[in-house]
Symmetry: C2
Subunit: 218 residues, 2 copies
């Protein structure tokens, strides 16, 4: 078997994986579906007795290649999809991210996050759009885990506010970007594991300063 076949076999094993939801998690209000087989993600959703207030889904190009139909099913169930710019283009077959966003949101989610790495992230929400910059860094030590840290920061902020409005999602994207900016400073979880709230607030303030301007329009 070649590598691709091996991957697909592993995928099938993964797709048959039936995750057990601990009883304590049954009433979760906020669900973050990490980047696993779309069928595993939908199994999780279907295993919950009550629909969470907000379901956010991460995915990647690999699933678009090998599990497109499953992906479409899961996508139709969630509220927010978080992917990068290349994946948005692949999924929509559109180069323009604005056009891509329209097509992807027609597949189900009412909000779409498109991550552009060092170029920031876009949040599309119904017919509105918000842009969060990435912090210009002297050095990126290791980008591994930045996407997951971003996702965790996003849903963590929303859960802490218990609000799913566009305004709260905007702030959540800024916190998500701040958390990701810590992640890349060291290997693995080295930088994030001992972070204090004060450090996080200071970092968020840097984002505020980075984009804050004051134009008085007539």
């Amino acid at each position: 078997m070649n590598t691709r076949d091996t991957l697909v076999t592993e995928l099938n094993v993964l797709a048959d994986f039936d995750p057990i939801i601990p009883e304590a998690y049954q009433d979760c209000k906020y669900l973050m579906l990490g980047n696993l087989a779309p069928k595993t993600q939908s199994t999780v959703i279907n295993s919950l007795r009550k629909r969470p207030k907000l379901m956010v889904m991460d995915t990647m190009n690999f699933w678009m290649d090998v599990a497109y139909d499953d992906l479409m099913v899961t996508l139709s169930m969630v509220d927010v999809l978080s992917i990068n710019d290349e994946e948005a283009r692949q999924l929509s077959k559109e180069h323009s991210l604005v056009k891509a966003a329209k097509k992807i949101m027609a597949m189900g989610p009412k909000a779409l996050i498109i991550k552009k790495g060092e170029h920031g992230a876009l949040l599309f929400y119904e017919n509105r759009v918000f842009f969060a910059p990435a912090l210009p860094l002297e050095e990126v030590f290791d980008p591994t885990g930045a996407g997951d840290t971003f996702a965790g920061g996003f849903i963590g902020y929303i859960a802490s506010k218990d609000d799913i409005s566009f305004d709260t999602m905007k702030s959540a994207i800024i916190y998500a970007s701040a958390m990701a900016s810590f992640c890349v400073e060291k290997f693995g979880t080295e930088r994030t594991i001992n972070l204090t709230h004060e450090e996080i607030e200071e970092r968020v303030q840097e984002f505020v300063d980075l984009v804050q301007f004051d134009i008085k329009l007539n």
Copy 2:
């Protein structure tokens, strides 16, 4: 002669070009040096009887290749340099734009604009940094002239306010980005030539909406 030799010959002719400054321009407060041979740019500066309040310079990779020493001279005379990300990397030999900015500002200008096309623009000013997003567009019809339109919008806004503070430069970058976003919608000057102030203000409002968020820090 090959193309490169032809270009260098034309450059030498250009570099000997001695632009005549009309008397009415002698007291200009704001000088925008378009992307010409660095020697022509410094000749213009030296032909002015009085130093303008602000001198902004555009340049490109070509001059870095063929007229590096002249470029260093002109760069040491101006207040603001406007280049794109690739050019900043070439000029500084640094990949990180933060490191690049420090090196370039040590060459003379106290402010540096790094344009990143569809990914927005960074304004470095002394030890501070500001980020202006690009508007996410459905379509870019023709990017020709976007850089010049950006430059014109930048210095035009500053001249209209007659202020060269960091805060005014921040707003100027937003107006510059707004002007450039019109430029790419049609060929040449078709879109910009009949623009109304109202259309410009509406476009600037889109930039405000794009990055506006409200985080209450403790």
